[in-house]
């Protein structure tokens, strides 16, 4: 049942949430929980029957071959599938025990509490400063905007590189800097959970390493779910790993499915499922 302090149905005028203080009827360690979640595009069931927890202040990785539905599940966690025509979710996506797909839940409020960083760095065609300030402004956080922007950029390990050119276009930054700017923009509104959809797939190895370090830092304050097609990355940055694969049913339709969820160390060294073992040893996918 929903706890009192996690009201997703209304938009507070000023909502500065302090991460890491979540309470709820769920076990204190899991901030989110998927219970038999299936995602449909029209009549096509893209992912079926996924159940797993998202542990607080931990990094949960989702891995698996292309088309296994890992990104689809990720986008279901903050209702980013909503704008896609025909997309539908069944089952429960619980956030502090409250189902995100309940009728009275406001998706706007959900996304403010559960932010997202995308595969391709997508800063707005605005200045660096305005990129970070955008989320603060729309959430009605007034005054000391400069402080908030600096704080977010610092947390994203970007401040030193951009502090002298805050009014310059964000599009003039390198790809890795752009992605860290996108992370800064996300953490500026202080969500509890940050979803990352293959955040390094468009970046070179050095920029990737910086983002990975950053992810590790961010777990002090945030809960992170990261989709990656890079198994080494999952092994490096995550505490828990979910392995998805694609199954072909009798009608020759492919459905994504969660095969195994466990602590990252265990999943990579001693997987319970044969399919997981085949994947991580490079035998398929």
């Amino acid at each position: 049942m929903a706890s009192n302090d996690t009201n997703l149905t209304t938009r507070p005028s000023v909502a500065v949430h302090t991460p890491g203080t979540a309470t709820g009827a769920e076990s204190a360690a899991s901030v989110m929980r998927l219970r038999d979640v299936s995602v449909y595009y029209g009549s096509y069931e893209a992912v079926r029957g996924t159940s797993m927890p998202i542990q607080q202040n931990q990094v949960t990785a989702m891995i698996g071959p292309s088309g296994c539905g890992k990104s689809t599940v990720l986008r279901a966690l903050n209702r980013m599938n909503d704008p896609i025509p025909g997309a539908r979710v069944s089952g429960d996506v619980l956030f502090h025990g409250q189902n995100l797909y309940a009728r009275d839940v406001d998706p706007i409020q959900v996304r403010r509490r559960i932010g997202m960083v995308f595969q391709k760095p997508n800063p707005f065609p605005k200045s660096i400063y305005d990129n970070v300030a955008y989320g603060l402004r729309i959430n009605g956080i007034k005054g000391r905007l400069d402080d908030h922007v600096e704080e977010a950029l610092t947390q994203a390990a970007l401040w030193d590189e951009v502090k002298d050119k805050l009014r310059k276009s964000a599009l003039a930054l390198s790809g890795g800097q752009q992605q860290r700017l996108c992370i800064a923009r996300t953490i500026a509104v202080k969500p509890e959970v940050i979803l990352m959809d293959e955040p390094c797939s468009a970046l070179d190895p050095i920029a990737t390493a910086k983002i990975e370090d950053l992810i590790f830092e961010l777990t002090n304050d945030y809960t992170i779910v990261i989709v990656t097609h890079n198994m080494q990355q999952a092994a490096r940055v995550s505490h828990y790993t979910a392995f998805f694969t694609a199954e072909v049913d009798e009608q020759q339709e492919r459905h994504g499915r969660l095969v195994e969820f466990s602590q990252t160390g265990k999943l990579f060294t001693n997987p319970a499922d044969k399919r997981t073992e085949d994947y991580i040893t490079g035998r398929f996918g």
């Binding site: 706007i108 996304r111 997508n122 065609p125 009014r167 310059k168 003039a172």
Partner: protein, 330 residues
């Protein structure tokens, strides 16, 4: 270095040009030619119109654009040709048109790109494009027979309510026949809405999904997403669309000639009759001779110059605004 000692066998293939080179050359000449053709036509129009208008320019000098009197057949003395009243009419009616057309067009375009159900989009676009296909004389006749008389009571009411307000009231002065700046502006607004809508719609639809997702993922409402992701991305394109609409409004001839009232008049009162440059040309060209004809062509030159100036100005505005909004790239 073994690489440099490679036999030169591979070398000729780098300089050989296949048949594709001919296609490239034809293509580049063709595009260059058409590009130059446009410039040549523009230049020729300018040169010939200025030459034809020269007797009037010569007689009036700079007064041609500063004089508000237009009297081709005075009882005594020389004819007076001043374009100012008509330039004013062109500007006022076009501004009114944009004032109404731009918010409406942007609204329709946003509805079609962001809100409308997919199956409604096609038919809606067709209807709007059909609006663009209606001949302007039809708009004019509709304006003079239906719109103008129908609006008179409304104008009268506006005059009664707002006429007494200091300064603002001057815009809503005494109402005559209903053929006036305001009616001309409203008819023009309807005429330019399709073009502005269809271009803004194109521009909005080029906003990357990623930008919109970024805004939504930060907890933006649909309107906040539009303001944060769609508008900054499309500002230049929307201004371009508005400029095309403005060009059409300023150059519109027959519809304006029918509804603007046909008076040589500079007044703040939007309910007073006036005239525009394009309308005057079409009204008076048939009965003109000599310097009078030259003066009418001169109006065309002034209209042409105004359009060019406004477009240049708009480009400067876009560049400045984009630099401010997007941050300087360098």
């Amino acid at each position: 270095m073994t690489l440099t000692k490679n036999p030169p066998a591979a070398k000729p293939t780098l300089t050989q040009r296949g048949s594709s080179a001919l296609g490239d050359r034809v293509f580049s000449w063709w595009t260059l030619g058409t590009g130059l053709l446009v410039l040549a036509v523009l230049g020729l129009i300018l040169i010939t119109t200025v030459r034809e208008a020269w007797p009037a320019f010569d007689a009036m000098g700079l007064r041609f654009i500063t004089e508000r009197v237009w009297d081709p057949n005075p009882a005594t003395g020389d004819a007076i040709f001043g374009a100012l009243s008509f330039a004013y009419g062109t500007a006022v009616s076009s501004l009114i048109a944009l004032l109404f057309a731009v918010p409406v067009s942007v609204g329709i375009a946003l509805f079609l790109t962001e809100l409308a159900p997919r199956r409604l989009r096609g038919p809606a676009v067709t209807v709007i494009d059909l609006l663009a296909a209606v001949p302007s004389v039809v708009f004019g006749l509709w304006g003079i027979l239906v719109v103008a008389p129908a609006l008179v009571p409304f104008y009268q009411w506006m005059h009664d309510v707002l006429g007494g307000v200091p300064l603002l009231g001057r815009l809503f002065g005494p109402v005559g026949s209903g053929r006036n700046f305001m009616t001309a502006g409203l008819i023009l607004a309807i005429m330019v809405t399709p073009i502005i809508t269809s271009i803004t719609r194109e521009v909005f639809s080029t906003v990357p999904r990623a930008d919109k997702d970024a805004a939504l993922a930060l907890g933006a409402t649909r309107w906040e997403m539009i303001r944060g992701a769609v508008f900054p991305h499309s500002f230049g394109g929307v201004v371009g669309a508005v400029m095309l609409g403005l060009g059409r409004a300023m150059g519109e001839t027959i519809a304006v000639a029918l509804v603007i009232g046909g008076a040589t008049n500079i007044t703040a009162n939007l309910f007073a009759p006036g005239n525009s440059m394009a309308a005057v040309i079409v009204q008076q060209f048939g009965e003109s001779t000599g310097t009078f004809t030259a003066a009418l062509i001169g109006l065309g030159v002034v209209l042409f110059a105004m359009t060019v100036l406004i477009n240049v100005f708009a480009q400067v505005v876009v560049r400045r605004a984009e630099a401010r909004m997007k941050g300087s790239v360098a």
